[in-house]
């Protein structure tokens, strides 16, 4: 194997339990996003765009969709058959004595130290497959080197009122981290960790081995490894990332991030051919927009047939929208069939959902309809209607709202 300067370990095992209906059959990084992507596309594309050609993807929860999606990695120029590295999927391993799940983020990397050792890199980049952001890791690596740091953690400014929901860094005037507090009640700073770390490889190895034998540890980078390093006075630098970053961890934040993308003129890079967000593309014909409809502020993917009004919404591929329907502030996943005269507002419609004509979907909150549900004609689903549970077809519908009204 060729020696590498920097390889990436991408944590993609997340269950995303707060995304509920969206992650029933797949891991959080595999959740579709932005009309044709999956969340993991952002981290994978960041790797390609930053010149990182070796990525270990640590999978765990419901990995099948993710495995099939990543495939041989060629969508991101990370061909697993390349001599240069490429992508390697690293599930928990079963040995003769059985196997068990990774115990935490740090444990998952610890279990794969041998994988990293093959490349004997100088630096290891740890990233997560759960976040929506565009980032050039090579700039972060450059600052890491310039500051002669042991570890560099990427941070982003969050609103002060939200700071207590994040891991917050308190830094000295040179940007070195003095303190790291998970979800502080009284935050001293608004610099939140993005879950993006660069470690000098010998340091990472040493501390993962230390952490592995600590019976008290939960084997988590944020909760255990970073605090230990701080206690032992290592040089931890905070790299200030400028740009959009979002942990898409709840249905609200998923919906909000989708709307953010919809409103950001060029987040998806219409103009820069050299910084694409890559995805494993589907073979779909162009979409068709019928006469006599209105489409405003929306993203429409290939294979759609649109004969209704679309306002401020995202249509994934192969969505069928029949005559006289109105879709507003919503996200319609792959293959959904929307009958005529349907009104959908502030909803997330799952893959291959069928909605009978003249139905009304949506209420005060965000309505989620699970994959493959079939709704009869004239169904009324949403916050107000949920509690009635009138018909059997409503099974699996907007369970999210029922649980947190």
């Amino acid at each position: 194997m060729k020696k590498k300067e920097c390889i990436a370990m991408l944590l993609a095992g997340g269950q995303g339990s707060r995304l509920r209906l969206l992650t029933k059959n797949l891991a959080k990084p595999a959740v579709p996003f932005g009309g044709k992507y999956r969340i993991i596309d952002f981290s994978m594309s960041n790797c390609l765009n930053s010149g990182i050609d070796t990525v270990g993807v640590l999978t765990q929860y419901k990995p099948q969709v993710l495995n099939a999606y990543i495939g041989v990695g060629s969508a991101w120029d990370l061909q697993c058959y390349s001599k240069e590295g490429g992508v390697t999927i690293l599930p928990p391993y079963v040995s003769e004595d059985g196997g068990e799940w990774y115990q935490g983020t740090a444990d998952s990397v610890y279990q794969n130290l041998k994988f990293i050792e093959q490349y004997n890199p100088e630096y290891v980049l740890i990233i997560s497959g759960d976040h929506v952001y565009k980032m050039d890791y090579s700039l972060m690596l450059q600052e890491h080197k310039e500051n002669n740091a042991d570890v560099t953690i990427s941070v982003v400014e969050v609103a002060w009122e939200e700071a207590s929901r994040f891991g917050i860094m308190n830094t000295d005037k040179n940007g070195f981290i003095e303190e790291f507090v998970e979800k502080p009640a009284q935050p001293k700073s608004n610099l939140a960790s993005m879950g993006v770390y660069i470690f000098n490889w010998p340091i990472l190895k040493k501390y993962l081995e230390k952490d592995a034998v600590d019976p008290e540890s939960e084997h988590d980078f944020g909760k255990n490894v970073i605090p230990l390093m701080l206690r032992e006075k290592l040089k931890l630098y905070a790299y200030a990332f400028q740009g959009y970053w979002r942990d898409v961890g709840t249905v609200e934040s998923y919906w909000e991030a989708s709307m953010d993308i919809l409103d950001d003129y060029d987040f998806l890079n219409y103009f820069d051919d050299n910084w694409n967000i890559y995805s494993a593309p589907l073979m779909q014909p162009p979409h068709y927009i019928a006469p006599g409809v209105n489409i405003k502020r929306s993203l429409i993917s290939d294979g759609c047939y649109v004969n209704g009004e679309i306002e401020h919404s995202i249509l994934f591929p192969a969505v069928f929208v029949d005559k006289g329907s109105l879709i507003k502030d919503s996200i319609i996943m792959h293959g959904a069939q929307i009958g005529s005269g349907v009104k959908i507002e502030k909803a997330i419609i799952g893959e291959n959902v069928v909605i009978g004509k003249n139905s009304v979907i949506g209420g005060d909150g965000i309505t989620v309809i699970e994959d493959k549900q079939k709704l009869k004609e004239n169904s009324q689903v949403g916050r107000l209607y949920r509690l009635k549970r009138v018909d059997k077809q409503a099974e699996g519908v907007s369970r999210y709202l029922a649980e947190s009204p």
Binding site: G35, L282, P286, L299, I300
Partner: protein, 376 residues
């Protein structure tokens, strides 16, 4: 259909496409928002299980080769058989106007000889349809035919394409009794330029052609042979576009705006495959007005678009009005531009305020890699 191989022949009448074929062969002509013409015969063949396909091409092969790669998108990147790029005899010289030039196959005789399949499907690259070829083979066997030609009973040529058609006299049982290139006659059906025959028979024909130096399969060979062999016509019932000129290229793309055609071609028997490209979903703005439009990924639309086809990464500025037009990849339309009846080739910028008006019979064609307006 593992026992059938395919050969896509090289269409020589490039002049009929004007500027469109200046940098590309007919097979590589962009069509329908994200395809190239070759995708249709190629997908029809691979959907039927044909896995050994040779494509004859000329020196203008670069975009075709870029498009096809190793044939991965069609499942043709394989050790056994797969996709073969075959050079035409004498470089696919345009002056040689043979309709189906057997010499192009003859110079690649070793490819044909080394193939293992029993049958060969010879087809043009300009046939837009979604066809189940397994039925053609079944028909061929059932009729015990020497040669089966796929034909259409109701296809209407544009006036300027009539002379480019090949007309067949079809008898009751499907037997073809006469082949007349260029001259339609009463009750004639139209050849779709897809011929199924045994490989051994094709090899024999090639040897005959070589000895007579007569190479035009459709113009010279078939009109004579038809009397001596069992030639049958298999009738294709569905949508058909024979793209023989820039006018029919325009017309058949505009027909995709009929949802029936869109559905039959792209959601029909088999999926039409093409080269996969990256790009975000199309983005429509507050100011856009869209009616009867076929568009694809990477488009950014702020203006008014009607009865038009937009390829990848087309940008339409605010206030622009695009009617009855076809915009190829990476075309940028400035603000307040007015277009009607225009085909714009790749990577053209139309600057603010320009107006270009053609019509349905004679669309304006704008050659690729240009800036129009603005600077001067």
């Amino acid at each position: 259909m593992r026992n059938v191989m395919g050969i896509i022949h090289h269409i020589k009448d490039e002049a009929a496409f004007r500027e469109i074929t200046k940098y590309r062969c007919v097979a590589a002509i962009p069509f329908g928002g994200k395809y190239r013409l070759v995708d249709f015969p190629l997908s029809n063949m691979t959907n039927a299980g044909i896995s050994n396909i040779g494509i004859i091409t000329s020196l203008k092969m670069r975009s075709l080769i870029d498009h096809l790669g190793t044939g991965k998108e069609w499942g043709l990147d394989r050790k056994r058989d797969g996709l073969f790029i075959l050079p035409a005899a004498s470089g696919g010289n345009e002056k040689n106007r043979r309709r189906l030039d057997l010499e192009d196959i003859y110079v690649n005789l070793d490819y044909l000889e080394n193939s293992q399949q029993e049958y060969v499907l010879l087809t043009g690259s300009n046939i837009v349809c979604n066809l189940d070829l397994t039925k053609v083979l079944a028909f061929h066997r059932q009729k015990n035919a020497d040669l089966t030609v796929v034909c259409s009973e109701d296809y209407q040529f544009l006036p300027q394409d009539v002379a480019r058609g090949v007309y067949l006299q079809k008898e009751k049982e499907g037997r073809i009794s006469a082949v007349s290139p260029g001259k339609p006659h009463k009750n004639s059906v139209i050849s779709m330029d897809m011929y199924l025959l045994k490989r051994s028979f094709l090899l024999q024909l090639l040897e005959e052609c070589a000895s007579l130096a007569k190479w035009d399969f459709v113009g010279e060979v078939l009109p004579v042979k038809v009397k001596k062999i069992k030639m049958y016509g298999y009738v294709h019932q569905g949508y058909l576009g024979l793209v023989n000129s820039w006018q029919s290229l325009y017309k058949h793309q505009m027909e995709l705006l009929n949802p029936e055609v869109w559905r039959e071609l792209f959601w029909g028997k088999g999926l039409i495959h093409t080269k996969l490209k990256d790009g975000p979903p199309a983005r429509y703005y507050e100011t856009s007005e869209i009616k009867n439009v076929f568009a694809t990924s990477g488009c950014l639309i702020e203006g008014n678009v009607k009865n038009s086809i937009l390829f990848r990464k087309v940008k339409v500025g605010r206030g622009a009005v695009i009617h009855n037009s076809i915009l190829l990849p990476k075309v940028e339309i400035g603000e307040d531009v007015v277009l009607d009846g225009v085909i714009i080739d790749k990577n053209v910028q139309i600057k603010k305020g320009m107006q270009l008006i053609g019509n349905n019979e004679n669309p304006v064609i704008i050659e690729k890699n240009q800036e129009i307006g603005g600077g001067f």
